[in-house]
């Protein structure tokens, strides 16, 4: 008779994820389901509101990447109003985006994914967390905190607020950068750049070598990829065209307005969260041997779809990464390596933008006029392509809205990676806490937004693992951290 293993957080329903692993009679994995509860009712809530309010409201959707929502929303408003924003306004938005990225990627690498790597996935729960890291590598922990403080302070200087941003407005940016502020920011950005350089060296010499076997086996699936590039294929996190790459490496570029021609959403009965897939594939299949229509977003995807990176140090790292792992890279745990290359890119790009004389221009915003229109704004959020699609009436009131967030794009591949990881690691009913941790690792590599709800502050996912005899419902064993 089959067993059911449930990995779930010791938390209430809202926003949480849970993993169910179904074992067949011989104790092998039959199927897995990753449950993610999405934000419900947001679209309805927005209808009838002035569209220019949305860039401020959307920052409450997520405590983890408010900047991404803020910028995607401002861009959708620009499109609705038909506004071409001034070049300096765009650069200020990009600067804010890059700084926010450095904070996020540092947090994820060192504390969320990092706990698994630094302490080891089999380490006891009591040390496999941020406190464990602080004890094992205290100097690094201090640097992490200092650099995150720097990022937060930079956003405050640049925009006035770091948690609930309001600086990007339809038509541009609301706060010009003074030259003395620029000087101050430049010093801070250079310090973050040094830390980014340290981080990738540290990971390449001290962390990744020990996990190359795990990288090659855990959560590996074959999918397509979605990301944003400029017209010449350069990685761009703020603006460009969307590039959908097939698993064989062939790709097509399309504009934001065409996204519904390329992306379709599938519904499964056991979760509210939709499963976007490549529309041209005609259907979605999450079969591990023959997946159809599945694509991934986030760092691994972005580095797969792009041809190059515009900053020199990140480009060098990118070349090494590509020559080592090829294109497209399918190894799920390499999300973490790709994340560090993006950290370096963002730190370098922040310095570049601050050295651009135009960054202190006061020509940062144009006036906008309401009209009946549809506008689509996309950015690359740390977790993947973020799409805000708005329609307004002639008074600028919202009549329709659709959002696709990074974690949603990754819903199908997260489910597949967990299934693959579970199949690799659980054989003949044998498993222990370490194996379950590795299933978690496969999820965590995607940095899913469920992480914001389910991670404890110490960087782990709060877990309750019930092993249930399917026929009787009897709980055979419970693991809890």
């Amino acid at each position: 008779m089959g067993k059911k293993i449930v990995i779930q957080p010791v938390t209430r329903l809202e926003g949480h994820g849970k993993v169910t692993i179904l074992l067949d009679d011989s104790g092998n994995v039959e199927d897995t389901m990753v449950h993610v509860v999405e934000l419900r009712g947001f679209e309805k809530f927005c209808i009838g509101r002035p569209v220019e309010e949305l860039p401020r409201i959307v920052t409450s959707i997520c405590g983890v990447c408010p900047w991404s929502h803020h910028l995607a929303s401002a861009k959708a408003c620009d499109a609705v109003f038909g506004a071409q924003i001034p070049s300096a306004g765009r650069k200020l938005r990009e600067l804010a985006n890059s700084i926010a990225y450095t904070e996020e990627h540092i947090l994820h690498f060192y504390f969320l994914a990092g706990a698994d790597y630094v302490m080891g996935p089999d380490a006891d729960y009591s040390v496999r967390n941020v406190i464990g890291i602080a004890g094992k590598v205290p100097d690094i922990a201090k640097k992490v905190v200092r650099n995150r403080h720097l990022g937060a302070r930079m956003l405050e200087i640049l925009t006035g607020k770091s948690i609930h941003p309001v600086a990007a407005v339809p038509g541009g940016f609301s706060k010009a950068l003074l030259s003395e502020e620029r000087d101050q920011l430049l010093e801070m950005a250079k310090e973050i750049l040094e830390f980014a350089k340290f981080s990738i060296d540290f990971a390449k010499t001290k962390i990744f070598p020990d996990y190359l076997d795990a990288v090659k086996t855990i959560g590996v699936i074959k999918t397509g990829f979605l990301g944003t590039v400029t017209k010449d294929g350069t990685l761009d996190l703020y603006d460009g065209v969307l590039r959908m790459m097939q698993a064989d490496g062939s790709f097509e570029d399309f504009t934001y307005e065409q996204y519904t021609d390329y992306i379709e959403e599938h519904v499964e009965p056991w979760t509210y969260l939709k499963f976007p897939y490549m529309k041209k594939a005609g259907k979605l299949s999450m079969d591990l041997e023959n997946p159809v229509g599945v694509y991934r977003t986030n760092t691994l995807a972005r580095l797969n779809v792009c041809e190059k990176i515009r900053t020199p140090l990140a480009q060098k790292e990118f070349e090494e990464y590509r020559s080592k792992f090829g294109r497209p890279v399918q190894l799920t745990l390499l999300y973490n390596w790709a994340r560090l290359i993006e950290l370096l890119y963002n730190a370098e790009y922040a310095v570049q933008l601050l050295q651009d004389p135009e960054i202190t221009s006061t020509d940062i915003r144009i006036a906008v006029t309401p009209r009946a229109a549809r506008g689509i704004g996309c950015v690359e959020a740390p977790r993947g392509t973020l799409i805000h699609d708005y329609e307004t009436d002639e008074n600028g009131m919202v009549t329709n809205i659709n959002l696709i967030v990074g974690t949603t794009h990754n819903n199908a591949p997260i489910n597949m990676s967990v299934k693959q990881a579970a199949k690799t690691l659980i054989k003949d009913g044998k498993y222990d806490q370490g194996i379950l941790n590795r299933v978690e690792m496969a999820i965590r590599a995607y940095d899913p937004c469920l992480s914001c709800a389910t991670h404890n502050l110490d960087g782990t996912i709060a877990l309750k693992v019930d092993i249930v005899k399917a026929s009787s419902g009897e709980i055979l064993q419970t693991y809890k951290n």
């Binding site: 010791v10 009712g41 809530f45 922990a141 914001c452 110490d458 960087g459």
Partner: protein, 168 residues
Amino acid sequence: MANGFSGYESKTVVVLGIGNVLFGDDGFGPEVIEFLQEKYTVPENVVLINAGCSARSILFDILLSEKKPEKIIIIDAFDIGLKPGKIFEINIDEIPENKIDDFSMHQIPTSNLLKELRDASKIEIKIISCQPENIPETVSMGLSGKISNAIPAVCRLVMKEIKKQPVK
């Protein structure tokens, strides 16, 4: 900035209003911070932070900072089945296990982590809460009347707590 991170690492008292304003009474914590900012002047050693759903990263950083505050006051709506609007304090050690879950609604730490902060860092942690009437499943902004009415009293409690801390 009262609403950001800035300078909290140099403060001895950090007041965090936690919750998501998109979900009815879950917006209690942030509303309390706004009220405090509007109606009160806090001493220089105190920072008021509308943490929204971002408490996680702030507490992460506090935990690892060399210079830590002496006291953290957390303000958060938290359903323990009392009369809506009832104000109460929670002792970290006394939270019944089945209620620990409620702490994670919007990225607030589980009590274990709060214990960690308190024990490992010797930070005094106060949790001031209010029984919500309605935390909807779908997005709906605005506090219910009874919760809204509790804000001034909660602010007085917070100010009392703040004043217990010697100014350095």
